[in-house]
């Protein structure tokens, strides 16, 4: 239910994303794209972002009508889907006009009962649309029916004079739309193409895992005019704020321990909420490192987080006999970090090649898509220990605690430099030494220095602030180097973040603006965020063995 998001004041750190998405349908603003593909890890907050956007448009907006639809496994039979999609759209449209939230949820009300309301609002075109749809539905043409449901928003945008922002959640599930049985009618998602072309009706589409979402959108017909918006994890300090506020005032928690936990949870709001909830349930008023690690172990093996991953796992791997092989495979990959060939794998794991092949196929489709997510890894570990090694619950907890404690604390260096006076070189020298301390190759460090210098120059150019300072934080662990660069001043314009082909750039006489391109090429990840009145850029580089001196 799109209006049931968390209260706006508890919703942290997504102002930029909200502003960007709001511009999509705003007739006054020149939107940057026609449609947006919202990608992010499971639990990163994609659904919540749509709800927040919906809430704001619903209550504050006059012009743009929000429409939210989440694909549900229960409504994937094409005729069921068509009716569901169509009637939700009608109800949400009316709810918006009347500012009447109850209409959104009143899913039992048959459409004809809405007719008096529709005519009192003078929406003749809508009444006609409903008649047409119902006529269509009687004729048994499946594609026609689905198509007319999907086209309803675009049609309404045209005839009703109000743009419509269509938000499609869990779109990866839409791949399973079917006639009578799963897999009997492929390609129904491509029916969205037509309505995605309408400039009066931009779409925001999301779902998990990101790789499958991207795969759907590799279809060129859907690809055109679609921008990607990546939803990053919450930064560590914001994650900590969220955690503390979820615990509530009456519970105290050691800050260092909490930050350690936030790192383990990788700024994932879903995990943070889940663990805060179980910590509250313990009834303790002062939480120690030990409390956190115990609670974490329980959370990933039998808590809400474990339950969450189990349902994802079970949903993707429906064939019962395959669960164990897939689990063993995943565990093997996790501990070895590599994917061997089928033959080799079946030898190592003592499984028949046929089973192995099947398990590998399922695994591809499953794609937990949470590479390097320690929480997912711990969930797998505990499930493996229980189901394959048949260890006791106590054993499992002990293993998880050990794993939790073994994660080394990263080293953190902080510095503040002035803007200008080639201070960026000072930062470059610092990263050089920090890298040498952990035995990184000089060449590798040269690239990092380049990226850092660019970032500092950017900060200086965008400053225009009274405070001519750049705040730097270097965080290193054996696996990665992370540099956080913060400065106050004007936010970066999104155009700056867009990649423009070289020829186009030169032709436009724009010889500047290589900085971000360079940073992106050098680093594995570049995040730009607005934190209070500061812009924060985070540069992340994963460290491979080849980049470390022997």
């Amino acid at each position: 239910m799109p209006l049931h998001g968390i209260p706006a004041k508890e919703y942290l750190n997504r102002e930029d994303e909200l502003a960007y998405l709001r511009r999509l349908a705003d007739p006054g603003a020149d939107a940057l794209a026609l449609n947006v593909l919202l990608v992010g890890a499971r639990g990163a907050g994609k659904t919540e972002l749509l709800k927040q956007l919906y809430q704001r448009l619903f209550w504050e907006g006059q012009q743009v009508v929000p429409f939210y639809y989440s694909f549900k496994t229960a409504a994937l039979k094409s005729t069921t889907f068509a009716r569901d999609y169509f009637s939700r759209f009608i109800r949400q449209y009316l709810a918006f006009l009347r500012k009447e939230p109850l209409l959104i949820d009143a899913s039992g009300t048959p459409l004809h009962r809405l007719m008096p309301l529709i005519s009192s609002l003078g929406l003749n075109w809508m009444a006609e649309g409903i008649d047409n749809f119902q006529e269509n539905a009687g004729q048994g043409d499946i594609y026609g029916q689905v198509f007319s449901a999907i086209s309803a928003p675009a049609g309404a945008a045209q005839r009703g004079g109000r743009p419509i922002l269509v938000m499609l959640d869990d779109f990866t599930t839409a791949e399973e739309l079917h006639e009578a049985r799963r897999g009997d009618a492929s390609g129904l998602t491509s029916l969205f193409e037509e309505s995605m072309k309408s400039s009066l009706c931009p779409h925001i589409i999301t779902g998990s895992p990101a790789s499958r979402l991207e795969a759907i959108f590799s279809d060129p017909s859907l690809y055109k005019g679609t921008e990607r918006l990546r939803l990053p994890p919450l930064p560590e300090d914001i994650a900590h704020d969220l955690f503390v506020s979820l615990l509530g005032k009456e519970i105290a928690c050691d800050r260092g321990a909490a930050l350690g936990l936030m790192r383990r949870l990788r700024g994932n709001p879903l995990y943070i909420r889940n663990i805060a909830r179980s910590l509250r349930k313990t009834g303790k008023k002062a939480l120690t490192e030990r409390d956190l690690s115990e609670c974490y172990g329980a959370e990933v093996s039998e808590g809400d987080t474990a339950f969450y991953w189990s349902s994802v796992f079970n949903d993707c791997i429906r064939e019962k006999g395959l669960k164990r092989p897939v689990l063993r495979l995943l565990m093997h990959r996790l501990s070895r970090g590599e994917c061997d060939g089928t033959e080799r794998l079946s030898q190592v794991l003592g499984m028949r090649e046929g089973d192995m092949g099947k398990a590998l196929d399922v695994l591809d489709a499953f794609d937990p898509g949470q590479d390097g997510d320690p929480v997912f890894a711990d969930y797998l570990r505990s499930r493996y220990l229980r189901e394959v090694e048949e260890r006791s619950a106590r054993d499992i907890q002990a293993c998880l605690r050990e794993e939790y404690g073994a994660a080394p604390d990263p080293s953190v260096f902080e510095m503040v430099i002035p803007m200008g006076d080639q201070a960026e070189l000072v930062a470059a020298r610092a990263v050089d030494q920090i890298g040498k301390n952990i035995r990184l190759e000089p060449d590798f460090l040269n690239y990092i220095q380049m990226a850092l210098v660019e970032c500092c120059i950017n900060a200086t150019e965008h400053s225009g602030s009274y405070e001519k300072k750049i705040y730097l934080k270097f965080i290193t662990s054996p696996q990665r180097l992370e540099i956080v660069i913060e400065s106050s001043g004007r936010p970066f314009s999104p155009d700056l973040l867009q990649e423009v082909p070289v020829e186009q750039k030169l032709a436009a006489g724009r010889k500047r603006g290589w900085g971000f391109t360079l940073m992106r090429k050098i680093m594995d990840e570049v995040r730009v965020e607005r934190i209070h009145d500061r812009t924060r850029v985070t540069l992340i580089k994963n460290i491979n063995r080849s980049e470390v001196r022997k």
């Binding site: 080639q422 040269n446 070289v502 500047r512």
Partner: protein, 120 residues
């Protein structure tokens, strides 16, 4: 890398200007380099070799100024050659998709050879 304050020196080899940027090639230094090249251009020199042997670090503003030099030379049908760049520097041009716009040589001699100039 140990960037030092910037300086640019140059010399004329027959009809080729060889420019030696030293230290950190940023906005200040880059402008120095541009004006050095323009100075030669005004005297009719159309071939320029930039020797990066003493350049520690080039930032993106430096790169944009090098593009500027390239455009100036293109306008008079001149030639711009880069030499003695470190692997990282060459890579950076590659990453930005800019390497196709410049001629790279391992050292000055080979650039001069290419430009049909033999010292002495």
């Amino acid at each position: 890398m140990n960037p030092s304050p910037f300086q640019v020196t140059s010399r004329l080899v027959k009809d080729v200007a060889v420019v030696y940027p030293q230290g950190y090639l940023n906005n200040l230094a880059g402008e120095g380099l541009v004006s050095e090249c323009s100075r030669y251009a005004r005297t009719g020199i159309k071939k320029v070799v930039v020797n990066f042997g003493k350049t520690d670090l080039i930032n993106s503003i430096g790169i944009s100024l090098l593009l500027h030099v390239m455009e100036e030379l293109q306008a008079v049908e001149g030639t711009l050659c880069f030499t003695d760049m470190s692997k990282v520097q060459v890579d950076i041009f590659e990453m930005l998709g800019l390497s196709k716009f410049f001629l790279f040589f391992p050292d000055e001699d080979r650039a001069l050879q290419f430009l049909n100039v033999r010292e002495r």
